[in-house]
């Protein structure tokens, strides 16, 4: 049935469905039980599925991921919550040296179907370590898959697919979009988890984004349309693997590409996209691939974040620069 629900609620419903349909699915994290998570994404799940399935953990991120690995080895499918993006680093060792590599080290004998949920990104006026976008740090690591939904329907279905995946999936949730409502058809047949979607067709330039920046790019396309420019907007959905075929197809049509993400531009996912699309589409491009994102600086205090984060004007400026070639 199609219902209108907020993105956070869509994840909640998705987790509920997963818990309901597979007794091996577990929810773990700090405050995920009684409180329902600091963003209430796991609201009501412990009440309905019990403390044995929805587990409030000690305040120790490495412990959360490390024990989830052990539970996965025992046949469980843990979905763990890292409360905020900047708190994932105590668990980074377990994710990178253990979670990502055990399947390969065991020559395929061991599977680790662990989902690590990370509410990420800025724009909510939070304090230090609560607004970061570390996806590139994870995408660089072979063995992990990285996805980020931008809307409620994707949040619902991508979570189902992430839990069903036999690979570890880092699930970046755009926290500033948690309260955005959208249609969710819980009986639909979802598309592939790692395929990009054209959310707005256009001819003059491609805007590629994922997670929180998709909505911004749609607003940019609206604004550009008023100036007579017809922009295509791609929701990449998956950062690893990246759907280069879809980006290539779009760029071969529009001949221009601007990549938008909140993370610092330097060594970011936009750099990887620019490099590969330049290789694939060298003779189609009318302008260099441009990137809009954060600066090579610590995420700033909340009263400066609007300067740091890509906004309508900064993306429109990049669009102008691209079209000026």
């Amino acid at each position: 049935m199609a219902d209108k629900m907020a993105l956070a609620k869509a994840i909640n419903e998705s987790l509920r469905r997963a818990l309901d349909s597979d007794p091996k699915v577990l929810i773990m994290g700090e405050d995920v039980g009684k409180l329902g998570g600091v963003f209430r994404v796991t609201d009501g799940l412990q009440k309905d599925f019990g403390e044995n399935r929805v587990i409030d953990t000690p305040l120790a991120e490495s412990g959360i991921v490390g024990t989830a690995i052990g539970l996965a080895l025992r046949g469980y499918r843990p979905v763990v919550e890292i409360q905020f993006d900047g708190f994932v680093f105590p668990a980074y060792d377990q994710i990178v040296t253990q979670l990502a590599k055990m399947h390969a080290r065991s020559l395929g004998k061991v599977k680790l179907p662990v989902v690590v949920r990370i509410p990420y990104g800025g724009g909510i006026g939070a304090v230090e370590h609560h607004s970061e976008s570390p996806e590139a740090l994870f995408a660089h690591v072979a063995g992990l898959k990285i996805v980020s939904p931008s809307n409620a329907s994707d949040a619902y279905w991508m979570m189902q697919q992430a839990i069903q995946s036999d690979d570890p999936v880092i699930f970046f949730e755009p926290k500033r979009r948690y309260w955005d409502k959208g249609e969710v058809n819980t009986e639909a047949i979802p598309g592939p988890l790692h395929k990009a979607a054209v959310v707005r067709a256009g001819t003059d330039l491609t805007l590629a984004a994922y997670g929180p920046m998709v909505k911004l790019c749609q607003e940019v396309a609206d604004a550009a349309a008023e100036e007579g420019r017809n922009l295509e907007v791609l929701d990449l959905r998956s950062v690893s693997p990246l759907d280069f075929d879809s980006i290539q197809a779009s760029v071969e049509k529009t001949r221009r590409l601007v990549v938008v993400h909140e993370a610092p531009v330097f060594f970011g996912s936009g750099a990887e996209i620019a490099a590969r699309i330049t290789e694939r589409c060298f003779y189609h491009l009318e302008a260099p691939v441009l990137r809009v994102g954060g600066y090579h600086a610590p995420y700033p205090p909340a009263r400066l974040e609007e300067e740091y984060l890509p906004n309508l004007d900064r993306v429109l400026d990049a669009v102008d620069r691209s079209l000026a070639y």
């Binding site: 953990t57 490495s62 024990t67 377990q94 395929g108 036999d166």
Partner: protein
């Protein structure tokens, strides 16, 4: 704030008055020294001279051990040492890139390893060759990662023996999670996590203590305190004996003579029994000694003297059981001679198997990176194949 501060200060003052008014100062001044009052008693059932000593608490856990089983423990230790020596030689001959010797730790590993049931699960570090032996892992398979043909080399679920973990202490959390799963399943299996004295400093080990205590997980933490973390002595890891750390997490810890195979068997059985009966985790500190280098890459003469090694040689785990077997007439010359021949055969078998180990296929780089596949891996595999094929096209291969 004031009330809390006062409340917090009062008991500290009274505790201080017991130990003397200059307690704080004294602590600061004696940073590197151990408090004599905290020196632990070892659980020991077999002395270095091979004498069986009574222990009211732990004797019952080895009461049923038959002479045949004692000979089995001896055989395990001898063969493990022979395998280890062969691997060290193979490294010296350039057949292995590295080897982490267990020389001196045979009793800790065989004693604890033989306490396990088939359905228990082992999470080792990279030195648990004796435990692997007890689990029935083909010893040759342990050498693949040291030769550089793979990063693992056995199916962890084949013998309930996880892959060696090189990052220090990581596996203690996996063990805890696995044990939490056992508890959820309502099974009565147990988990044992091996780690060293150096690993006891790692945050993951502390977190595994926290998680296992909070969830009452059926896990035995088996710390082989071999006195050295590469060149760092145990004093650089802890101000208190390692087994006492368990107390702060709310579960028991015990120190056993790690060179006493019977003691290790008894204490591990006790700890496993606690785990199975729902009493939660236990920390066992097996007090032992690494006779060789940390790995074949380091030189222990740079950081420790001969006297120390000689003192520990007198406590050799194999020698003491041999003395006991001989004194109690549980083994005759024929047994020892036969075992000697078996050892040599094992050495030869291992040597030949390592030398015959094929290099992995080039495309193994791209295998098993993901369970469900990944577009980038597919793309890079195809590029690699084209690159490889380009040599064939030129008639080079």
């Amino acid at each position: 704030m004031t009330v809390e501060s006062t409340a917090a200060r009062t008991p500290r003052r009274s505790a201080g008055s017991k130990a003397g008014t200059t307690g704080t100062k004294r602590t600061t001044r004696t940073t590197a020294k151990k408090d004599a009052g905290t020196e632990p008693q070892l659980v020991q059932l077999l002395t270095p001279e091979g004498k069986r000593v009574k222990n009211a608490e732990y004797d019952k856990y080895v009461a049923g051990v038959t002479p045949e089983e004692l000979r089995g423990l001896y055989r395990d230790m001898v063969l493990t040492r022979r395998f280890d020596a062969e691997a060290t030689s193979l490294q010296r001959q350039g057949e292995l890139g590295l080897w982490a010797s267990l020389l001196g730790q045979e009793a800790a590993q065989i004693g604890s390893g033989r306490a396990l049931r088939d359905d228990d699960y082992v999470f080792p570090t990279y030195r648990e060759h004796g435990v692997a032996w007890c689990r029935g892992v083909n010893p040759t398979n342990l050498l693949g990662m040291f030769r550089g043909v793979n990063n693992g080399g056995w199916d962890p679920n084949g013998n309930n023996f996880q892959l060696y973990t090189i990052v220090i202490g990581s596996q203690t959390l996996h063990a805890t999670g696995y044990a939490m799963g056992i508890a959820k399943d309502g099974a009565d299996s147990a988990v044992i996590a091996y780690f060293g004295d150096g690993a006891s400093s790692q945050g993951d080990v502390a977190e595994s203590f926290t998680f296992s205590a909070v969830y009452n997980a059926p896990v035995v933490f088996f710390c082989q305190n071999n006195q050295w973390a590469i060149s760092e002595p145990t004093e650089k890891q802890s101000r208190v004996p390692i087994y006492q750390r368990a107390q702060g997490f709310g579960f028991p810890g015990v120190r056993v003579d790690g060179n006493d195979v019977l003691g290790c068997l008894a204490v591990t059985r006790w700890a496993l029994e606690r785990a199975r009966s729902g009493e939660g985790p236990t920390l066992v500190e097996a007090f032992t000694y690494r006779m060789g280098a940390h790995t074949t890459s380091d030189d222990p003469t740079r950081y420790r003297g001969d006297e120390e090694r000689q003192a520990w040689e007198a406590k050799d785990p194999i020698l003491r059981l041999r003395r006991y077997l001989e004194a109690s007439n549980h083994a005759d010359e024929g047994f020892f001679a036969e075992l000697e021949a078996e050892s040599e055969a094992l050495g030869k078998r291992v040597r030949e198997a390592v030398r015959a180990m094929p290099d992995p296929d080039h495309f193994a780089i791209f295998e098993n990176v993901y369970a469900d596949g990944h577009a980038l891996v597919d793309e890079e595999r195809a590029q690699f194949a084209a690159y490889q094929a380009s040599f064939a096209d030129e008639g080079g291969n």
